[in-house]
Subunit: 476 residues, 2 copies
């Protein structure tokens, strides 16, 4: 309960709802949703449990709506009784997004899984928020289409919108910000807003779509999503390229981007990460920093891109380049990359992971990664580094023994330095994980007080009762 | 004055400031800005005069700040006296954006023209809002960089941000929404907000950048802009391809996009537009609907793209394809496209142009353009159609005799039908021109009342005194 008390005493968020208010809300929800309303300890704990080490703050109940109208009904009920609402996708976030520091109702979208429409000619689709990225891509494959954003975890698309997710393909296809055409959102007063038409672009007023992308459930609950799609490329080629140093790998990345090579993925694994993957995924990767690269295009185009990248790598002392043109080899390669989280755990059995990310202008990437690696060594703990380096975005996954307060203190100080380092390089405290409640403390340093005040006034204006995921991003 | 009275009686916007308030503000501005404050009729008229036919509503004075601090000083002064502020770039907008229906001070950014920084390694730059897109590209050329967004007019980048501009290159490079990394904005209370860091992506809170992109000066004044840049492609190839019908040209466009061909520009000219260009620009274009196409890439890549497009065109009965690989031929081609506005005028000497745009899902584009062409014929007036068809966006430029009320009535009814047609096809009332005050009446039909109310509450929350470009987008 420490977190709750701390947050409340700092004026972050509302008071917990009264037992009476909760009883009324849970009673009404039980009447409406029957066995789609859960209050068991196990389900509640599961809904505040994510892929990072953060103290669990379970909601008071979990409800599983199936339609926008049901979500609106839940929101109106909670608003009437001032009961917090915490939207829940798959629970794969890292910054405490789904914790319920003030209690309330977790709205689990996992039963909202319809693909409402696929418009192949327009390269878009309309889906419900509980559809995960793998489910969507399985559904689309037969039509020769895919949705490119890939944060690693098989997250729900609703959660990916809410956290402005990106991942390995963002260097070519952008982030969720760039790939959402429109949203249906249940507002904190229960009204339903559609943020835009299905046209590919519009100048018809304020950009409501982008207002909700990255809002982490603090401004409303997303109940339908219109996404841009891509045709599956005619040719895909992926490969691994070792480099003598992290700096050489970063410099090769900068040159690749500057040359206008339309690389689809360019991922850095530092030496610690490579070691972990060799153990966990039973690979025999060269024991140096690596770039994992993928190209999309025509046969000739992909060949040309690969050759050019090979020249750049050689210039920076990298190589030799190993290609995986067969689909199964590529799958193995990217599976290994996606296993990075789990592989890191194998480096220190019993430890808990605290994955975090920052993003800097690409010209500062090598500095930032090198200084961070040095800081890890000097701090004396174990951590891997992987990066979506084409965007200047990298992840550090420290492993910590949660019952060792001295170690936790060292970790906390390290995380502060990591963010300060990124900010000093004109970077951001999070490139893609989001703020949740763990990164709230960095927003003033990142944005300045006037911008933070503007965010707060947006929150107050849209959610005056402060019931939507209170205590996250900008607690008001 | 009719427009002002109408707007006021409909509750749109504030009352005009009192003579006393204006006198104090203009007095203080004269003291601070000297000859950078103008009140002459000619200068005031020029600042409410744009490239469309709309009744002029001049501001009471025009001021030319040079720094963010000067803009903040102007805004604080105007806020203290409740005097409206109308930001002004180059006056190339179409929907009455720079009119001053409630009087006030036009803030002309044309003396804010510094390129503050170019970060070639990061492919970004920081500029002041008065820099125009041609000035920026002239500045960047030596470094092998360019800024791709090209709305035709040599607009100021500040204006392009404010209207969420796009244009011919958007099919490949996106719109202003996709190409702004960060903004410095003077808020309606005079505070200065920086919306984001220079990192290429971030999940650190609400997307303040996109809140201001497309806000048309109603939420604040943009005083610095961080833009993404592109490397100048190694090879550029452009060409003209005739088609037997608008539908065939649209279908070729759909196939091109679906095939994943990374076309950089794909522009439709209808037959009326081709005729106008042949007269105005002394060209000998084939007398049919045309697509103007451009490819960016490597030598081999561009060649391959062109071949594939040629196959698609042939399949749809188009061709032969005429290539302009030499830079001067390409320049001539795109100059002709950019002359479309002026060329249209030559079809009816003495008439005034009323350019407008809508955008629909690309699958509906042929229907929408064909129905619109039929509507033009049946309405009995002269109008050209050009389109950024890769995005489903097209422009209609009717030519009207402003002193013929019957003709104006026919035009007004046509414009209503055009928007209704686009909305019925899941499109938007404007793909890139913006709302200004001329398209405000369509926003409820497009977005629905809850979304419009949300826009209004954003406006009220950020500009409670309603001094920032009042009477535009969502008058409150």
């Amino acid at each position: 309960m420490l977190n709750t008390i701390e947050a409340q005493s700092a004026g972050h968020g509302p008071a917990r709802p009264s037992a009476d208010a909760l009883e009324r809300v849970i009673g009404a929800l039980t009447a409406e949703f029957g066995d789609r309303l859960a209050t068991s300890q196990a389900v509640r704990e599961q809904h505040s449990n994510t892929l990072t080490w953060v103290a669990s703050q379970p909601p008071d109940a979990v409800v599983y709506p199936r339609t926008t109208a049901e979500v609106a009904s839940i929101v109106k009920l909670c608003a009437a009784h001032r009961v917090p609402i915490i939207p829940f996708g798959t629970g794969t976030s890292f910054e405490g997004h789904v914790n319920a520091p003030f209690g309330g109702i977790s709205v689990d979208t996992s039963q909202m899984k319809r693909v409402i429409a696929v418009h192949a000619e327009d390269l878009d689709c309309v889906i419900e928020p509980g559809v995960t990225r793998k489910e969507l891509n399985d559904y689309l494959r037969d039509q020769g289409l895919f949705f490119p954003i890939d944060p690693g975890a098989d997250a729900s698309l609703g959660g990916m919108v809410a956290t402005r997710a990106s991942g390995t393909n963002a260097v070519r296809y952008g982030t969720m910000k760039d790939n959402v055409l429109s949203l249906t959102v249940v507002m904190p007063n229960g009204e339903v807003v559609t943020t835009a038409r299905r046209a590919k672009k519009s100048s018809a007023g304020y950009d409501l779509t982008r207002l909700f992308v990255g809002s982490e459930g603090t401004l409303g609950i997303i109940t339908a999503i219109t996404l841009k799609l891509q045709g599956i490329p005619e040719a895909i080629s992926a490969g691994i390229c070792p480099f003598p140093s992290v700096r050489a790998a970063c410099d090769a990345t900068i040159l690749t981007i500057q040359s206008g090579l339309p690389v689809a993925r360019i991922e850095l694994l530092d030496q610690a990460m490579v070691a972990a993957l060799n153990i966990h995924s039973k690979l025999a990767l060269p024991d140096t920093p690596l770039l994992l690269i993928e190209f999309h295009g025509t046969d000739a185009g992909v060949r040309e891109q690969a050759e050019r990248f090979g020249d750049i790598a050689e210039e920076l002392g990298g190589g030799p380049f190993t290609w995986a043109t067969k689909a199964e080899d590529r799958t193995k390669l990217w599976q290994a990359r996606h296993d990075a989280y789990w592989a890191s755990l194998s480096l220190r059995p019993g430890a808990r992971p605290v994955p975090t990310d920052v993003c800097v202008p690409i010209s500062r990437l090598a500095d930032c990664v090198e200084e961070t690696r040095r800081d890890i060594e000097e701090s004396g703990f174990i951590a891997t580094i992987v990066g979506h380096v084409g965007d200047g975005n990298f992840h550090v996954q420290p492993l910590v023994m949660p019952d060792d307060p001295a170690e936790v203190a060292v970790l906390d100080a390290f995380l502060e330095r990591l963010v300060a380092r990124a900010l000093a390089m004109e970077g951001t405290c999070t490139g893609e994980h989001g703020v949740g409640h763990k990164k709230m403390k960095y927003l003033e340093a990142e944005h300045g007080l006037p911008a933070l005040d503007l965010m707060r006034s947006l929150k107050r204006s849209i959610d005056p009762l402060n019931i939507m995921n209170p205590g996250k991003i900008v607690a008001v």
